[in-house]
Subunit: 424 residues, 2 copies
C-alpha cells in the first residue's frame, strides 16, 4: 500500500468528531494489559480474576448441553428480547431476594457486564453539566463511562456526606459500597442508612455498583443499599437505588454478563436504551451462565473466597515486611484491591515508568481514579491474579523501588533551600 501523504481527499478529522470525544482517553489499565505478556513482568494492575479458578468444566458442560440440542442451539443463535435470557433473569431475581431485595424478573435487565450498566444509566440520567457524585477515588471505568455524557463530577465522602439542595443538587450518585475499587474500603451499615437519608432528602437516584459484593472474606455481610432502601420505601418500584451486578468477578468476565436490578420504570427505560445501543447481549453466554449459576453459584464463590483471602493476607504481610516507613495501605475485608499511599514527594506515575523498566512490576497509579486527576501519591494493587511467591517477590521489588524514591524525595526536601534562605 502507498505511503500516507496528504491528498485532496484527506478529511478534517478534528472538525469531524463530536465534542465529547475530547475527553476520551485510553484506560490506563487496558493499556497495561498489553504489557502482561512480556516475560518476567509481574502485574498487580487489573481487577482480574485468576483464570485457574474459572469453572471451565461446568462451562464446557453447559456449552455442550446447549449447542448439541438443535432446538436450544437455534434458540440462542436467534435475535432475542433486549431484557435478556428469561430464566437467567428469574435466577437473578431469586439471588437478589437472598440479598434482601424482594423483586421479580421484571426488575432485572441483563447488561454486557456492569460496564454497560454504567453507560446505559449515564445515557438515561445525565445531561451535560449535571452534577454527579462520585467518591474520590472511584472506579476508573465509571469515570470513563460517565465522562462521555459530560457531567460535572463532585466528590462525596460516604462517611460524612451532608446534602445541599439547590441549583447544584446532584442529579445522580455512584457508589461501590463493598470493597470499593480502588480502595478496598466498605461503607458501614450506619453510613449506608445516613446516605439513604441524604439521597431521600435530595431526591437523588444512586447507582450501587456491587461488582465485588460476593467476595467477602471476613465479617458479616452488610445489606446492599438497595435492600435497605426497599425496606424503607416498602417496594423496589419506589426505590431510588439502582443496583448494578456482574458475574465478571465470580464466574468469568469474558462472558460479558451483568445486570441491573431496580424499579420497573428504570428497568423499562434501560431496556429502551439497550435496544438503541446493541439490541441485546450474546445469548449463548447468558444461557451458559444460567446453566452454571443455577447448578453451582454458591460452590463457585466458596471456591474463590479462601484463595483470594489467602492472597490478600500474603500481600498485606509482604507490604508490612518490605515497605519503607511512611508508606500506608488499606486492609480490605474482601474484593480485589489494596490501596497504597506512598511517602510524601513520590509520584506514582514516575514510579510506574521506572517500575516497568527496572523492577518489572505493573500497577495502576492513583491518578487514574480521580475525576480531577489528583491522587499521584496513591497506587492500586491487585492480589487476586498472582500466586503467593509472585506476590511476595513483586511486593519486595516494588518496596525496593519505593524506598529508593523515598530517599530521593527526602534528599530533594532536605537540599531545597528554606523559604527564608530563598528570599534572603
Amino acid at each position: 500500500m502507498p505511503t500516507l501523504t496528504r491528498s485532496s481527499f484527506d478529511w478534517d478529522r478534528e472538525r469531524a468528531f463530536a465534542g465529547r470525544v475530547t475527553g476520551m482517553k485510553p484506560s490506563a489499565i487496558r493499556e497495561f494489559l498489553k504489557l502482561l505478556g512480556e516475560p518476567g513482568m509481574i502485574s498487580f494492575a487489573g481487577g482480574i480474576p485468576d483464570p485457574e479458578l474459572f469453572p471451565t468444566d461446568a462451562i464446557a458442560e453447559a456449552a455442550s448441553r446447549i449447542t448439541s440440542d438443535p432446538e436450544l442451539c437455534r434458540g440462542v443463535l436467534q435475535y432475542a428480547a433486549s431484557e435478556g435470557h428469561a430464566q437467567l433473569r428469574e435466577w437473578i431475581a431469586g439471588h437478589m431476594a437472598q440479598l434482601g431485595v424482594a423483586c421479580t424478573s421484571d426488575n432485572i435487565v441483563i447488561t454486557s457486564g456492569s460496564q454497560q450498566a454504567l453507560d446505559l444509566l449515564a445515557k438515561l440520567f445525565l445531561d451535560p453539566g449535571d452534577t454527579l457524585l462520585v467518591t474520590a477515588p472511584t472506579y476508573l471505568g465509571a469515570l470513563q463511562a460517565f465522562g462521555v455524557y459530560e457531567p460535572a463530577f463532585a466528590p462525596i465522602d460516604p462517611g460524612a456526606f451532608v446534602p445541599h439542595r439547590g441549583q447544584h443538587a446532584p442529579k445522580l450518585a455512584y457508589l461501590i459500597p463493598d470493597f470499593a475499587n480502588p480502595t478496598g474500603e466498605t461503607i458501614s451499615r450506619e453510613e449506608r442508612e445516613r446516605l439513604l437519608d441524604a439521597f431521600a432528602e435530595l431526591d437523588t437516584p444512586v447507582i450501587e455498583d456491587a461488582a465485588y459484593q460476593a467476595l467477602r472474606f471476613d465479617g458479616e455481610p452488610i445489606p446492599p443499599l438497595l435492600a435497605l432502601d426497599v425496606a424503607r420505601t416498602g417496594h423496589i418500584d419506589r426505590s431510588r437505588v439502582i443496583y448494578a451486578g456482574t458475574f465478571s468477578k465470580t464466574v468469568a468476565p469474558g462472558l460479558r454478563v451483568g445486570w441491573i436490578c431496580a424499579a420497573r420504570e428504570v428497568v423499562h427505560k434501560v431496556v429502551l436504551a439497550r435496544q438503541a445501543s446493541d439490541l441485546h447481549g450474546a445469548m449463548l453466554d447468558q444461557a451458559m451462565l444460567h446453566d452454571v449459576v443455577s447448578r453451582r453459584f454458591d460452590e463457585q464463590v466458596r471456591t474463590l473466597i479462601p484463595v483470594y483471602r489467602h492472597r490478600r493476607d500474603v500481600m498485606l504481610d509482604a507490604l508490612a515486611r518490605y515497605m519503607p516507613a511512611g508508606t500506608t495501605w488499606t486492609r480490605p475485608d474482601g474484593g480485589m484491591f489494596v490501596w497504597l499511599t506512598l511517602p510524601d514527594g513520590i509520584d506514582s506515575n514516575d514510579l510506574l515508568r521506572e517500575s516497568v523498566e527496572t523492577e518489572r512490576i505493573i500497577f495502576v497509579p492513583g491518578t487514574s481514579f480521580f475525576a480531577d486527576g489528583s491522587g499521584e501519591r496513591h497506587v492500586r494493587l491487585n492480589y487476586t491474579r498472582s500466586d503467593d511467591a509472585t506476590i511476595v517477590d513483586g511486593i519486595e521489588r516494588l518496596a525496593r523501588l519505593v524506598a529508593r524514591h523515598a530517599d530521593l524525595a527526602a534528599y530533594r526536601t532536605e537540599s531545597r533551600p528554606s523559604l527564608a534562605e530563598a528570599v534572603s
Copy 2:
C-alpha cells in the same frame, strides 16, 4: 409485597431522567416480536434469518473445540482487548480484501452486532443539532441509535444528491447501499461514485451499513462505497467511509458479532468509545465465529442464497396474484425485504391493528422508518423467515385486508363533499 401507593420516598422520575430520554420509544419491531409466539400468527415483521439455516452443527463443534480445551476455554472466559478477537479481526481483514478493500486487522474493530457500531459512531461523531443525512425511509434501529445523540435528521436521495456546503453542512451520512432496509433497493455503481464526489466536496464521513451485502440473489456485486473510496484516496486510512458489517444475517444474530472497517484513526476512537461502553464483546462467541467462518463462510452464504431467493420469488408472485390494483412494491435483488406502497387513503398503522386481530399477520408499518414519522402508506414485508405455504397464505390474507381498506378508502373519497359543495 404491599400495593404501590405514593409515599414520602417517591422520587420525581420525570425530573430525574436526561433530556435525550424523551425521544426513546420502544422499537415497533421488537414489540411485535412478543406476538410471534401466538398460535396462528404469521410474521413478515422482523429482519430475521430462518433459524433452520443456522449452522448449528458447526457452532456445536466450535463450542466443543474451544470449551473442552482448558487453555482455550480460560482464554475466552478472561477479560480481553476492546478491539476484539485477534484471529477473527485477521479473518475479517481478509474478507474485506476480497470485497476490494485493502486493509489490515488494525482497520477492524469488533462490535456487538452492527447496531453497536451505529451507537458508537453516533457517540463519536454527533453533537446535538448536527445535521445527519439518512434516506427516507431508513433502518429504524439506526434512527433509534442516532436519535439518542439528538442530531437534526435531513433526507438524502442517493440517486439525486446535490451537496450544499455552509452552516448546515452535514456532519455525517448513513446509507445502506445494498438491498436497503426497508426498501430492498440498491444504489448503483454510478450513484455510488457521484455520492463519493459529493461527500468529498462536503468533507462528510459516511457510514456504509452493509448488513445485507452478502445476500445478493441476482446480478453482479457492486463494490462497497469503502472499496470505491479506497481506490480514489489510495489508502483506507484516508477514506471517509466507515463500513459496518455483521454476521447477524449470514451466520447467526444471537452471537452479537459485527465489525467496523475504517481508517485506523476512526478505529482507534471506536475502541476508546467501546472501552467506556462495555469494555469488549463476549469472547466465546467471537472465537466460535472465527472457527465457523474460517472453515465455511462461503458455504454458509451459498446455503442461504437459493432459499432466500426462492422465498423472495414466492412473495413477489403472491403479491402479483393477490394484491388489489393501486398497490405497488419493490423487487429486491437480495436482502430480506419487499417494500409495499398501499392504495391511496390507507394508513398502514390502522391496517396493522386490524391485521393482528383478524387476519393474524404482523408486518412493520412504514412510519417506523421515517425520521419525520411519515410513511403511513408503506409496509415492510420480510420473506426470509417463512416457508412457501406460509408466505402465500399470509400474502393472500394481507391482500384481502388491503382490498377491504382500499374499498373503504375509495368509498370515503367518493362520499366526501367536494370543496365547492363544502363551502357552498
